[in-house]
């Protein structure tokens, strides 16, 4: 709270201040925020209230600068919105955070998360990451709980279809960008694909230490003893580790990372994955990444090795084994059915002629 603590915002106060735009480099030394020396702010990217004054301008679409290599430059389908909603300055800020995250795998990069037109907790971090990386030639898949047809997945997929016009799919193999909440698809990901996770609490140590100032220091010192103690306490109490989702991992031998609340069943898929994995936490304003082919190790002990959930039954619809299953309640007598959580995987198998028993349990 020293008076010399300055901030890099191009805002000044004081009657006698000089330039309105201050070219200051962030003293925080990290994080992505207001980019000094940036091009002047662009006009509003989407439709406004009708102009109130004669000289008000209601601006239409902005530059379709996002894209990879061969991106086509066609007009966005929803006029009045910038390609993929976010303005280009914001996308650039987010891309910088992503690049930093890729350079330091598992490290949480602070970024200036924007207020998005969907609520915090609904995937604003993932949406911002997706918006920043999406190009016109991308094919987008959105899943929530493994399914393409849950309401929030539908809502986010539509958001991008409307604001970017990119092709969408439910097929894991067809998608170039997959935004996900709580699952990693069963179909192995390939090179060139990007998996974007929605993250509620990016800090794996948060429930052990609520203070950000403390946890950042713990990461800096690679001081993860508390986490091991927590896992050890599980073992001493239950005989095994009782963390079932958001199971902490160590990335590239350095940072302990929260894999987002995916069931630990999915943790092994993160290891040495050919796809790029990006994590966005909007409310907590953090982005982190796991580059392709990176070692991701679930924390464990030599005498208590990491184990994933095992289901006693195959999927009732497609007969798949070794996949994550959802439990459906069928009636008030407690009859249940176990079916694939990954709807695309299940449908694909059924299309290939695999059939489950269809039996309730």
């Amino acid at each position: 709270m020293s008076a010399t603590h300055t901030f890099p915002s191009p805002r000044t106060r004081g009657e006698d201040r000089g330039d309105l735009v201050v070219d200051a480099v962030s003293p925080q030394g990290e994080g992505e925020g207001n980019c000094p020396g940036e091009t002047p702010p662009s006009p509003p990217p989407h439709l406004r209230l009708p102009p109130r004054f004669a000289d008000d301008e209601v601006v239409e679409t902005l530059s379709p600068q996002a894209g990879r290599g061969d991106a086509e430059r066609t007009a966005a389908p929803q006029s009045g919105y910038n390609f993929a909603y976010l303005d280009e300055g914001t996308k650039r800020m987010i891309r910088r955070a992503i690049l930093k995250g890729i350079a330091v795998p598992g490290y949480q990069v602070p970024f200036a998360s924007r207020e998005m037109p969907m609520p915090y907790g609904w995937g604003t971090g993932g949406v911002q990451v997706t918006a920043a990386i999406l190009g016109r030639s991308d094919v987008l898949k959105v899943i929530d709980q493994g399914a393409d047809d849950t309401t929030n997945a539908v809502s986010i997929r539509r958001f991008f279809a409307k604001t970017s016009g990119v092709a969408t799919t439910t097929r894991t193999t067809e998608a170039t960008v997959i935004q996900t909440r709580h699952r990693i698809p069963e179909t192995p990901l390939t090179e060139g694909q990007t998996l974007v996770y929605q993250v509620p609490i990016p800090e794996p140590l948060r429930y052990l230490e609520p203070r950000e100032t403390e946890t950042r220091q713990l990461h800096a010192l690679a001081e993860y003893g508390a986490m091991h103690v927590k896992l050890y306490e599980d073992i001493s109490r239950h005989g095994h580790i009782a963390t079932t989702y958001a199971y902490p991992v160590e990335v590239a031998g350095r940072y302990v990372m929260d894999p987002s609340p995916t069931p630990k069943f999915d943790n092994p898929k993160m290891d040495d994955c050919p796809a790029l994995q990006l994590f966005g936490a909007g409310r907590e304003r953090r982005i982190y990444a796991v580059p392709p082919y990176t070692r991701v190790r679930s924390l464990d002990f030599e005498d208590h090795p990491f184990r994933v959930q095992h289901f006693d039954h195959p999927c009732a619809l497609c007969g798949a084994e070794g996949v994550y299953l959802d439990e459906m309640l069928l009636d008030d007598a407690g009859r249940r059915m176990f079916v694939c959580s990954d709807t695309d995987h299940c449908e694909g198998r059924r299309a290939d002629g695999h059939l489950g028993t269809g039996d309730a349990i």
Binding site: P8, R11, D16, A112, E115, G121, H182, L317
Partner: protein
């Protein structure tokens, strides 16, 4: 056979259509106009502008209409609009000392230059429901104030106290850039300007609760209302190409200066300290609560022990935003069946182990 539910898209569309219909309500009842909301729900509009961080009464009124009167939802709409607005500069700091005062009260001095101006206030009303309001009718016109000789002169109470050195000086304006927490992630410890930004945007109920807690002993600050003033101030901007300030318009503000005890330290003599609150429109509760929490958050700076939630900036700043809070709380209604399945499996396993253990114990007891 049960097949996983399809049709999310149609369901969402239908839910939105139903929402639109329910929002409108009984079509036999005339529709509310934005102008009506702006004029007759003015304090609600002020709150939405304050927490939405955007001074635009029409937009706030429209947001309230769209949000069916839900404050947090209206704030959300305003914020989501604000986030895309271009920022072309910062205004010259507004001078609340030059405010066209509509209301100005001090709890520390019985009379003072500029006088006590009650203005439109609920303070001394009896909270009896006025059934005559149910019937529309004309109201008695407001009384005209006697023009005061010193009406134009209405100095801030804290400035008068500062002349005698009885209160700490206002922090000098060093012309340093002010942070913007909507454009940069907050880095703790945050300076006072950023903390005030967060409090100004913060949920009125949450900030009020924190302020109340300081009064009940959780980080006590011995406050007095030095002054509350409500009125319009001019907003000026210096376009680079002109080099001098041009007026952009006027905004209505509520400012609260709390005067708090301070015993002094080795370096500083005993003197009063300041807590500051500022909100759009007439939002006295918010401005007062903000001033109390601002002072509480200065504990570390003033060498006081940090023991209570209201003094803990990570606690206050991370939790005072209604959108962040409501988002994370309400996201619990999103599907969580994958994680829940993982927990179900664990609980079943733990229960099996528990039963096996108790059986073993029973058998042992039987054997003995």
């Amino acid at each position: 056979m049960y097949v996983a539910v399809k049709g999310g898209e149609a369901a969402i569309d239908n839910a939105h259509r139903l929402l639109a219909e329910v929002r409108r309500g009984d079509p036999a009842v005339p529709e509310l106009s934005v102008a009506q909301i702006r004029a007759q729900m003015a304090l609600l509009v002020d709150r939405v502008m304050t927490e939405g961080s955007l001074y635009d009464p029409d937009l706030a009124a429209l947001a309230l209409k769209q949000a069916r009167g839900d404050v947090v939802e209206a704030v959300f709409l305003v914020r989501a609009f604000r986030t895309t607005l271009p920022r072309f500069g910062a205004s010259v700091p507004v001078d609340t000392g030059a405010m066209a005062v509509e209301r100005r009260i001090s709890a520390t001095f019985k009379d003072l230059p500029g006088g006590q101006v009650l203005g439109p206030t609920f303070d001394y009303t009896h909270r009896l429901i006025d059934f005559t309001l149910a019937a529309e009718g004309d109201i008695e016109p407001a009384a005209e104030a006697e023009p005061r000789v010193d009406a134009a002169l209405c100095p801030r109470v804290t400035d008068m106290l500062a002349q005698d050195g009885l209160i700490e000086a206002s922090p000098p304006d060093e012309g340093a850039p002010v942070g913007d927490l909507t454009r940069e992630p907050v880095d703790y410890p945050a300076d006072r300007a950023l903390r005030l930004q967060a409090l100004a945007r913060g949920d009125e109920g949450f900030v009020l609760g924190l302020a109340y807690s300081t009064q009940r002993g959780y980080g006590r600050t011995h406050p007095f209302v030095g002054e509350i003033r409500v009125g319009e101030v001019a907003v000026e901007f210096v376009p680079e190409e002109l080099g001098f300030a041009v007026p952009l318009g006027r905004v209505q503000l509520t400012e609260c200066q709390m005067v708090n005890q301070f015993k002094g330290s080795g370096a500083a003599p005993p003197q009063f300290t300041r807590g500051y609150g500022l909100s759009f429109g007439q939002s006295e509760r918010k401005a007062m609560a903000m001033a109390l929490v601002d002072r509480a958050l200065r504990a570390e700076e003033l060498g006081e022990p940090v023991t209570s939630p209201a003094q803990d900036q990570e606690f206050v700043l991370a939790h005072c935003d209604s959108l962040q809070a409501t988002g994370f709380v309400e996201h619990l209604k999103l599907p969580h069946y994958v994680d829940f399945q993982a927990e179900l499996e664990l609980v079943r396993r733990l229960r099996t182990e528990f039963e096996r253990k108790s059986e073993t114990v029973e058998m042992q007891e039987a054997a003995e």
